[in-house]
């Protein structure tokens, strides 16, 4: 039996007040146990799409649904089912990693975690133990991304949105991050990730959608991608980046 999609864009369109059409009639869906990579260059409309899911923006037309709930119609109900990791995770710099975790996880509606739970999840995302009780002040971007994904893991929502989570990470951290996403997918999460890194997308995504100037120009499952496709995609995609 085909599972219901957890994340769904239906004719999603966003035109900013200044007239820029950032997202144009985009439709796709992400099912439990699926990683959907939204691939596109700068300005393609990836962040706008994710912001529409989180109701940070109202769609001009169409809708973004989380667990079947339209975000703009009932944002509070919709956001219960999603965790979010932004491009540059920002936390309270005068709190420790564990304190940040404890706050944001409870804000996400999860209570009952112990310090041992925090320790285990921070180790799982690869943050060395000596950093757990350090203030965020001196954390590198990679360390902050790790905290961000730890918060998302502990929120334990069925869907996860990630906006260019690996941009700016060194290759090793990027690789580990993708491994982690893979394991979350295996736990049955529906994951929507935006990226401009085609190789990362190819590595772990189940489905790849290519965005260009607000349009979803192509969508393909990884299984259907041949090496030739990848090259073609790469050319098309990089053209988008450099324009």
């Amino acid at each position: 039996m085909e599972q219901q999609p957890l994340l769904e864009a239906n004719g999603l369109t966003k035109r900013y007040e200044d007239g820029a059409l950032a997202v144009n009639n985009v439709s796709f869906s992400v099912r439990p146990g699926e990683i959907y990579a939204m691939l596109g260059g700068n300005g393609a409309g990836k962040t706008t799409t994710i912001n529409l899911f989180l109701n940070f923006l109202e769609p001009t037309s169409g809708e973004a649904r989380i667990a079947g709930i339209a975000s703009h119609a009932d944002p509070l109900a919709a956001k219960k089912h999603v965790a979010f990791v932004s491009e540059n995770v920002m936390l309270y710099t005068n709190f420790t990693a564990v304190q940040n975790l404890a706050y944001f996880v409870r804000l996400g509606g999860r209570t009952g975690y112990t310090t041992e739970d925090y320790r285990r999840v921070l180790l799982r995302v690869g943050l060395q133990e000596e950093a757990h009780h350090k203030k965020l002040k001196g954390f590198s971007k990679g360390m902050r991304q790790k905290c961000g994904i730890a918060i998302a893991i502990l929120k334990d929502a069925p869907a996860i949105l990630l906006d260019e989570p690996t941009s700016g990470l060194d290759p090793k951290s990027g690789y580990e991050f993708m491994q982690l996403l893979g394991s979350l997918r295996d736990e049955g999460k529906a994951i929507l990730m935006s990226t401009h890194d085609i190789f990362r997308a190819k590595e772990s995504a189940d489905t790849i959608g290519i965005m260009r100037q607000g349009n979803l120009v192509m969508q393909q499952s990884r299984a259907a991608l041949s090496g030739e496709d990848l090259e073609r995609l790469y050319m098309e995609h990089m053209a988008g980046v450099t324009e």
Partner: protein, 472 residues
């Protein structure tokens, strides 16, 4: 959820250097204001006792009540006036009471010891209306846009957080964080008062509690204003500048401007003008009486005593008549002046009502009894005392003293015992009843009510702005 955000806000603020600095400055200023207030009260009390003693000493050895031409009464220092000065140091503390005539207070604290005017700023009222309102802005200017700049607002609202709960929690959190640097040193200050021999009566406690209550509402109003501006701007540098400007206008300019504006719009005849009018009238009725005195024929009698008594009776009657006429004029002029003054004050209060900190000053002065009513109360009670004094002197001397009369003292050669000195303490003693909390409660409630309305309006503005705030 609200509780969680409040806890986070408290921890966030308590671990910030901003809080440490605020707490430090607040503690020092508040404790200092209590210390200075207590010290001033001690000095003022000593001065008050000394003046009273010196006044009585002046009549030591006097054997005749007719030689007591006047008796000075003094405004006793009040413990709470040292914490909320109001006009307590500006008004005269001494009144020379005669059997008749107008009463005028003189010898203000600042007039006697200008050095105290230097420290006038350091009372609780100053700390609330100037220092704490500034701190409220420091705590509040980046409550919303600061979270956006830090990038934490996005992550927060990726969760199912209602905006209403969030902004309420932010306000309460910052408010509680601000209350600590405020209430802890105030409590400590109250505890050191007894060490200076200052004991507060029941009414004083009520006053103090209400003053602190109004102060907290004032701080809350400024915090809500800061929240409002913070939720209406993207950058904390912008909101800081906007708020600083608003603060300068509300705290520094409006209260002063209100006085100037009221002075321009309603003119009140000066005391000098009124006095010259009065003295013109006085010399006019004197001239009339001089005619009557010239045509006075003493009673035909050989007895000097009888002649003098007749003369004094005549003079007394003239003086009484003169006083009656003079009092009528004086009452009319005074009433006119009082009415105009009331108009002026009303206008000034209306204008300064634009400023929450001015409202606090007014509320604190009213409840504490150190508002403009204080001088009036002193004069009124002195007038009442004057009646007792006149009645007493009349009984002792048979005359209404304070007017113009001749006293003939007979020197008798009888071997009678030497005249006994009078006991000046027999005079009725003046006891000032401070304005009660109840007497100022109406005005206090009015001002504090407007303050609360400000708080609610600012918060409503913040709420409205935040509903549409771009949390990305």
């Amino acid at each position: 959820m609200v509780r969680l955000i409040i806890e986070k806000e408290l921890r966030d603020i308590f671990t910030s250097s901003k809080f440490l600095v605020t707490f430090g400055i607040c503690s020092v200023l508040i404790i200092l204001s209590f210390l200075i207030g207590a010290r001033n009260h001690q000095v003022a009390t000593a001065q008050y006792e000394a003046s009273k003693r010196a006044n009585d000493l002046q009549y030591e050895g006097v054997t005749d009540w007719t030689r007591v031409q006047e008796y000075k009464i003094f405004l006793p220092p009040q413990p709470l006036a040292t914490l909320v000065n109001g006009v307590a140091n500006d008004i005269g503390r001494t009144i020379e009471v005669r059997g008749r005539g107008e009463l005028r207070s003189q010898d203000s604290r600042y007039g006697d010891d200008p050095i105290f005017a230097l420290f006038r700023f350091l009372d609780l009222e100053f700390i609330f209306s100037i220092v704490l309102t500034l701190f409220a802005i420091l705590f509040g200017y980046d409550l919303i846009n600061g979270e956006k700049e830090r990038g934490t607002l996005r992550l927060t609202f990726s969760n199912a957080i209602p905006r209403t709960g969030y902004i309420i929690a932010k306000f309460i959190g910052a408010f509680l964080a601000l209350a600590v640097p405020l209430l802890v040193p105030i409590l400590a200050g109250i505890l050191i008062l007894p060490a200076f021999g200052i004991t507060l009566a029941g009414d004083d406690w009520l006053k103090l509690a209400l003053i602190i209550g109004a102060g907290i509402i004032t701080v809350g109003a400024f915090l809500a204003l800061a929240l409002f501006v913070s939720a209406s701007t993207e950058r904390s540098s912008t909101s800081f500048l906007v708020l600083l400007s608003l603060w300068i206008v509300m705290v520094m300019i409006v209260p002063r401007l209100s006085v100037v504006a009221a002075d321009q719009i309603v003119t009140v005849p000066s005391v000098d003008e009124i006095n010259s009018q009065k003295s013109r009238f006085m010399s006019q009725i004197w001239n009339e009486d001089r005619g009557r005195m010239n045509s006075y024929t003493p009673p035909k009698s050989q007895n000097v005593q009888e002649v003098m008594a007749g003369f004094n009776k005549f003079m007394q009657e003239l003086a009484d008549a003169r006083e009656k006429k003079f009092n009528e004029l004086s009452a009319r002029l005074n009433e006119e002046r009082t009415n105009r003054q009331a108009e002026q004050q009303m206008l000034a209060m209306l204008v300064s009502g634009v400023s929450p900190s001015a409202l606090f000053t007014l509320a604190a002065g009213e409840i504490n009894g150190t508002s403009l009513r204080m001088e009036r109360a002193f004069l009124e009670q002195a007038k009442e005392y004057q009646r007792q004094y006149a009645a007493f002197m009349k009984e002792k001397t048979g005359m209404n003293t304070g007017g113009f009369s001749f006293v003939v003292r007979m020197v008798t050669d009888d071997d009678a015992a030497p005249p006994k000195p009078i006991n000046i303490r027999e005079l009725p003693q003046f006891a000032f009843t401070p304005l009660s909390a109840a007497s100022g409660l109406g005005a206090y409630t009015g001002y504090t009510g407007v303050l609360a309305v400000y708080l609610l309006l600012f918060f409503a503005g913040a709420y409205r702005s935040f509903q549409r705030y771009d949390v990305r």
